[in-house]
């Protein structure tokens, strides 16, 4: 977010960095109280969802943004994480495992699914890969929808309800937490947990980006054959991208299940995959601050449309003429088209990509080299 840009700009001055980090930290820490008291709990929930979507978008960014593998079924990994949590901590099977077992297990299982999807699709690129991954996402959803007979595993379209809230140590996040005479409401507690994990994922992604693996991903994105000839094991590196991206999705899914208390196949349809992809692409593929911006914007904008379109219509026409839900998605679709037409590299592209889109990359590199 803004801390990133200021970090970039001020990298030279260490004290400024520390000051900016502290200010940003305080801002993030008091944010739920401002939003909670200013806009109410529904917006606090939306804020929590924005954090979940940021995790998802960062995970997908590894696959799409870094490695350049277009994945349209990403939500399947979110579903895997969510359903694993739901099955292991709900009355459905009578299991109530603790969070620190389930979340890592969800990450691992989603990672395995990622490898399962990645392995057969290694040879595919671009549009074809997009369609296969889309098919994979739909297969997962169809199975979730139908695995209630003859053995009831997923409880079918009804989904699984009564999922245990996330509880850490002796605290359950479902109820207000009292600590040292200070009471933390449930939504706020979830916010801090999600924020911590989101920051952790941001940290991991930044470290990955600047690592050998990260550079190998970018090399594959730019030219797979050249990358191979440079000694990169493209098969393993691509599988790693799928696995890592998927495991982030698995973590976010587990948190979603615990937060929501209910999962059903409907939460994991293609539209959700598309939404996460749009966050990555609109924000600026491969650029971590851009992706975070995309995650925030695309979580909040539809909500603004949802809450705003009804009252605005009443104000203009005196009654609700158009279905607010349809209107919201209509505006969303239009926004996608318009942004892509005018900023095909995304709202906040990375510097290298911006150069590419101007089409004078070689000249720039030469000039910088001279």
């Amino acid at each position: 977010m803004t801390s990133m840009s200021s970090l970039n700009a001020l990298r030279t001055d260490k004290r400024m960095v520390i000051a900016a980090t502290v200010i940003m930290g305080i801002a993030l820490a008091v944010l739920p109280f401002i939003i909670g008291s200013g806009l109410g709990n529904s917006w606090l929930r939306i804020l929590n969802f924005a954090l979940l979507y940021i995790m998802l978008a960062l995970g997908l960014n590894i696959v799409v943004g870094f490695a350049g593998l277009l994945d349209l079924g990403y939500i399947a990994f979110y579903a895997v994480g969510a359903y694993l949590y739901a099955l292991l901590a709900s009355p459905h099977f009578g299991l109530h495992l603790p969070v620190w077992v389930i979340i890592p297990a969800g990450a691992a299982l989603a990672g395995i699914f990622g490898a399962l999807l990645g392995a057969p699709t290694l040879r595919l690129r671009g549009d074809y890969l997009a369609i296969v991954t889309l098919g994979f996402g739909e297969i997962v959803r169809i199975f979730l929808n139908n695995l209630n007979a003859p053995v009831n595993i997923t409880n079918g379209p009804q989904g699984i309800s009564g999922i245990d809230p996330i509880h850490l140590g002796g605290f359950t996040l479902a109820k207000p937490i009292s600590l040292f005479g200070f009471t933390l409401p449930s939504l706020h507690a979830y916010y801090y947990l999600f924020l911590a994990l989101a920051l952790f994922i941001v940290f991991v992604t930044i470290r990955l980006e600047n690592s050998r693996i990260g550079r190998a991903w970018v090399a594959i994105r730019e030219d797979e054959i050249a990358a191979k000839s440079c000694g990169i094991n493209t098969r393993n590196i691509k599988l790693l991208a799928f696995t890592m991206g998927a495991s982030f999705g698995g973590v976010a899914g587990g948190l979603f299940a615990g937060f929501q208390g209910f999962v059903s196949p409907e939460s994991f349809n293609l539209m959700e995959s598309v939404m996460v992809l749009c966050m990555v692409v609109l924000g600026g593929m491969g650029n971590i601050p851009g992706v975070i911006l995309g995650g925030i914007l695309l979580t909040i904008l539809p909500e603004i449309f949802r809450h705003g379109s009804g009252p605005v219509q009443v104000a203009i026409f005196g009654k609700i003429l158009l279905d607010p839900e349809a209107l919201r998605m209509l505006l969303f679709g239009l926004a996608l088209i318009v942004v892509m037409l005018y900023r095909p590299a995304g709202l906040w592209p990375s510097t290298t990509r911006r150069r590419e889109f101007r089409g004078d990359s070689t000249n720039d590199v030469l000039k910088e080299g001279e």
Partner: protein
């Protein structure tokens, strides 16, 4: 045995609809190398418009044939306009952008069309008025309705017409030239922009026909019907070899057969573990299988790695 024949008949009907829609995908892909994700929604618009006209005229006393023809004409006109605008607004400005950009605008167009249709026609399912003859014929112990015969016949006629258009006319030659190499075609005096627009318009007209057929076949139309249909038709196009007209037809029919036979027998094959509600996953397994083992499709030419 009669169940087997019945499934074959159902598969053929379904398959000819898939084939018509698949032609739209494959033509656009052949010429522009782009997957027109919004094509399924064009089919849906066609179905909705046709249904609206039929509902309006159902009690007018006109002969059924005329009503259907009018509905078809209205649907075709609207779909052609929609297809033309999609290309102009969402694809043409991005022709030289990286591949992800038109994909996102295509998704955007899909969302817009779906929700526009939800605003116009509401969220409910629309039933097809019972104006069509329901007479059924006996074929080897299975039944086939007049409607199903008509669907297969019309689809075959349209596909034959398209193949003649592409291989026997001046326009068709220009289309093939554009698909072979746009810049050389332009040097030879082909107006590429015009050809691309015409391709979209033809594909959308086929989509309108397919839309009417789907809603007549299932007696239902819905704002969300385009998505799955589009996906399956795309699978059909890939199965046959995307970019290849004959391949799309073959792929469509094959996919229809696979789906209806699969749905009919999956219960027996898996000992009742998987039921016919898994019908939708066949298309995806076929798609994944084809792309892994034969990415160029059954009759397609070799595609480059970056396809």
């Amino acid at each position: 045995m009669d169940i087997f024949i019945q499934q074959i008949i159902n598969g053929l009907v379904l398959g000819s609809i898939y084939a018509l829609v698949a032609l739209g995908y494959t033509m656009v892909y052949g010429i522009m190398g782009l997957i027109n994700f919004a094509h399924g929604e064009v089919v849906m618009i066609g179905a909705m418009v046709a249904l609206t006209v039929i509902k309006l005229l159902a009690n007018s006393g006109l002969p059924v044939f005329i009503i259907i023809l009018l509905a078809l004409a209205a649907a075709a006109v609207v779909c052609m306009a929609v297809g033309f605008s999609i290309e102009r607004i969402a694809y043409r400005p991005l022709r030289h952008a990286p591949k992800l950009a038109p994909l996102i605008t295509a998704i955007g167009v899909s969302i817009v069309l779906q929700n526009l249709s939800m605003l116009i026609w509401g969220r409910n399912y629309h039933a097809f008025p019972p104006i069509l003859p329901t007479s059924a014929h006996d074929v080897f112990g299975a039944t086939i309705t007049t409607l199903q015969v008509a669907i297969v016949l019309i689809a075959t006629l349209m596909m034959a017409g398209l193949i003649v258009l592409i291989h026997r006319t001046r326009l068709g030659r220009a289309m093939r030239a554009t698909s072979e190499n746009p810049s050389i075609a332009q040097l030879m005096g082909v107006n590429i922009n015009q050809i691309i627009s015409i391709t979209f318009i033809i594909g959308s007209a086929l989509a309108a026909v397919a839309g009417l057929m789907v809603s007549a076949n299932y007696s239902i139309a819905h704002y969300y019907m385009g998505f799955m249909l589009g996906l399956k038709a795309f699978t059909a196009a890939v199965l046959g070899g995307i970019g290849n007209i004959a391949g799309a037809v073959l792929g469509g029919i094959l996919l229809g057969l696979i789906e209806s036979l699969g749905a009919g027998y999956i219960g027996d094959l898996t000992g009742g573990f998987l039921g016919s509600h898994y019908q939708d996953i066949f298309a995806f397994f076929v798609l994944i299988g084809v792309l892994i083992f034969r990415p160029s499709g059954l009759v397609g030419e070799k595609v480059s790695e970056r396809a």
